[in-house]
């Protein structure tokens, strides 16, 4: 057990945890926007998978990683448009339509992979970027400043989106659409347009999250995300619909997961209870939430389609 507390081991654990948290983070931040405006999208995992496949296929065909990210973003936007149409215009029950999108994305990405690619072949990923000078710092250097652009991007999104949500007009519109759509409507905010926008934005980020995953892992295969999209949705609740909170949630989950791996590898967690250990991230996330009693209520209009006139 003392092995775990060696600096090198702790740094590896933390750094792995950060990387593991990255693909959740993109999707979760995107979902935050949607939920803030009142729309729940449970199909995030499926959209991630479609985005991941799009990015993977593009990379295999062209070798251009940035084009791949773009393709994933576009796929996300399209799926978001569909989801918005179903949730906002058709006012379908959001929890379930999300599951439908998930199944569709899961099946389609696998089908396309089987038919267009066939066998798992690797793709290159984004290179590690060592920020000059900062990455030379002991401990912190490897921990914070030696990741790929994908990781940096995810964490940079946090302050940017926080700013947008809290300090811009559009953020205000988003929040009002989620809290009190009737009032916002009378003030001239087009609830439908706001929600379309946030859902599409959120799906775009989910697609990018999938692309992030596939470029991090440098491969694609059936059900690559293995449920990460659902965890991303759960993290939005954990983060009380604030990007910063979502980031903490993602980090908590990722760090616990990588700690468990480290302890398993060191033999501290015996093989006989290996399964029980695997569920620790989930358990700890719930416990953390119980302990830190939520003051924030959820957006009042979450999952409620808006209809003018009641």
């Amino acid at each position: 057990m003392s092995e775990f507390f060696k600096i090198a081991a702790l740094v590896t654990t933390a750094s792995t945890g950060i990387r593991y948290a990255t693909s959740y983070l993109y999707a979760a931040i995107g979902e935050t926007f949607g939920q803030r405006s009142g729309v729940l999208n449970l199909g995030v995992d499926g959209i991630m998978l479609l985005g991941a496949f799009g990015a993977y296929y593009t990379t295999r065909q062209t070798g251009n990683l940035w084009l791949a990210m773009l393709v994933a973003a576009v796929i996300g936007l399209i799926m978001g448009l569909a989801m918005a149409f179903v949730s906002v215009t058709l006012q379908a029950e959001q929890g379930i339509s999300g599951i439908g999108f998930y199944l569709f994305g899961l099946g389609m990405s696998d089908l396309l992979f089987q038919k267009l690619v066939g066998t798992p072949l690797p793709i290159p990923g984004f290179p590690q970027i060592r920020i000059p000078w900062l990455s030379e710092l002991p401990v912190v250097g490897q921990l914070l400043f030696s990741h790929s652009i994908i990781v940096y991007g995810a964490f940079l999104l946090v302050p940017i989106t926080t700013y947008v949500l809290n300090r811009t007009t559009i953020g205000l519109k988003i929040r009002s659409a989620g809290e009190n759509p009737a009032a916002a409507d009378t003030l001239g905010v087009s609830i439908a347009r706001v929600r379309y926008g946030t859902v599409m934005f959120g799906s775009m980020l989910a697609g990018i999250g999938g692309a992030a995953l596939t470029t991090e892992l440098r491969i694609f295969q059936s059900n690559l995300t293995a449920g990460q999209g659902f965890i991303a949705v759960a993290l939005v609740y954990f983060g009380a619909w604030r990007p910063v909170g979502v980031m903490y949630g993602a980090l908590l989950y990722g760090l616990v997961a990588s700690t468990v791996l480290q302890l398993k590898t060191l033999g501290v967690i015996p093989r006989s209870v290996s399964d029980l250990a695997t569920m620790l991230p989930a358990v700890i996330t719930i416990l953390a939430l119980v302990v830190a009693v939520q003051r924030e209520r959820q957006p009042a209009a979450l999952t409620k389609p808006y209809q003018r006139g009641g």
Binding site: I99, G100, F104, G107, I231, L276, L289, Q294
Partner: protein
């Protein structure tokens, strides 16, 4: 007006047809024959006694989960923890049978079903309590608890509950021993797999209907959903109702889990390490069945039969036309989205029906 009513009832069906049309296009793209495919789908779900019994068997967990969802929805909570609750019910049922293998059937079987009910209830009560008393959102907790349930299941199946024969042989397949025969669910039709789980599920649906519409407690749950603020003002305890709703919803899922184990082909608890391997996504598909049935316990009965037919038929489609199973999963998703989306037309139709009904009653009109 009658015409409108018929149209309303057929809307979900039309939605399914719409999704299947897209499926037909996908089949064409893959080079498969859609006509052959869809006749396989019908044959596989309705085309023989065996197919019908397969459909009915598939419908049982959907019905139970769906009925549970109708309770939860009426109380304004979303229960997406069905997968975990099914697993817990299966575990409690299995554990009971393993603990008391020598009880006579007339005692063991009901005991096992009750245990399943209890296991699911527990797994619904936890998120219920977390929401009511700690304001932990139920979507978060149920997603997490689904994960936890799988790991607990794996722990038991790979450890204390592993078939001693497997341990002895060294093959260590994670499954239980063949569970006591007295606990086998009796078959309704010989040479099929249709068992009394169907009866249990239908009875449960009727009981829930009675509960929600004819009993005070059920009325309170419906009231909470309808207007939580008014209920609070009237002194009713919203929190307890939420816990109750999630507990009941989970309990029905748990019952489904027990039925899945004791009505299974293998008469053991076995899976591949995931929840879906055991549940077949009943925890999610059951929610769709509930919506398909208008969120009404009785309506969920035909809805789950139809949805079960779709699932069974789609598997047959895959086998006959030899497309990758991934297509079937995507098709499942399309059906869900289409059915759920069709609800708006149904609501509009319902409103028009109401309007024309009130006009019929009061032709004079006037404010």
């Amino acid at each position: 007006m009658r015409l409108l009513s018929i149209a309303g009832g057929l809307l979900p069906v039309a939605a399914v047809v719409g999704a299947l049309l897209i499926g037909a296009v996908m089949l064409l793209v893959l080079g498969a024959d859609p006509i052959k495919g869809f006749s396989a789908l019908i044959e596989g779900s309705f085309g023989s006694l065996k197919a019908l019994s397969d459909t009915a068997s598939k419908a049982v967990p959907l019905l139970l989960v769906g009925v549970g969802i109708t309770i939860a929805f009426r109380a304004n909570v979303i229960n997406i923890g069905g997968e975990g609750q099914i697993v817990l019910g299966a575990m409690f049922g299995t554990g009971t049978a393993l603990l008391f293998p020598h009880l006579p059937g007339w005692l063991l079987l009901p005991l096992v079903m009750i245990a399943g009910f209890a296991g699911g209830a527990l797994w619904g009560a936890i998120p219920g309590a977390l929401k009511a008393y700690f304001s932990v959102n139920e979507i978060l907790s149920t997603i997490m608890l689904n994960i936890v349930a799988v790991q607990i299941m794996n722990f038991f199946l790979q450890g204390p509950w592993m078939d001693p024969a497997e341990v002895e042989k060294g093959s260590r397949i994670p499954q239980t021993a063949r569970l006591p025969q007295q606990a086998d669910l009796p078959l309704l039709l010989k040479n099929t797999r249709l068992n009394i789980g169907l009866v249990i599920a239908v009875v449960a649906a009727i009981l829930v209907y009675i509960f929600l519409w004819r009993m005070t407690e059920g009325f309170r749950i419906r009231a909470v959903g309808f207007n939580p603020f008014a209920s609070r003002y009237a002194g009713m305890q919203v929190n307890n109702r939420i816990v109750l709703a999630l507990t009941l919803s989970g309990a029905l899922c748990g019952l489904a889990g027990a039925i899945l184990v004791f009505g299974s082909e293998s008469h053991r608890f076995v899976t591949d390490g995931s929840a879906t391997g055991f549940t077949g996504s009943a925890g999610f598909n059951g929610i769709v069945a509930a919506l398909f049935g208008g969120l009404h316990p009785i309506g969920t009965i035909p809805a789950s039969v139809l949805f079960g037919a779709l699932l069974v038929g789609a598997n047959k489609l895959q086998r006959v036309v030899q497309v990758p199973s991934a297509l079937i999963i995507a098709l499942n998703g399309l059906v869900v989205v289409f059915v759920v989306s069709s609800a708006i037309w149904k609501r509009r139709l319902d409103r028009r029906i109401q309007l024309s009904a009130s006009r019929a009653n009061d032709p004079g009109g006037g404010p």
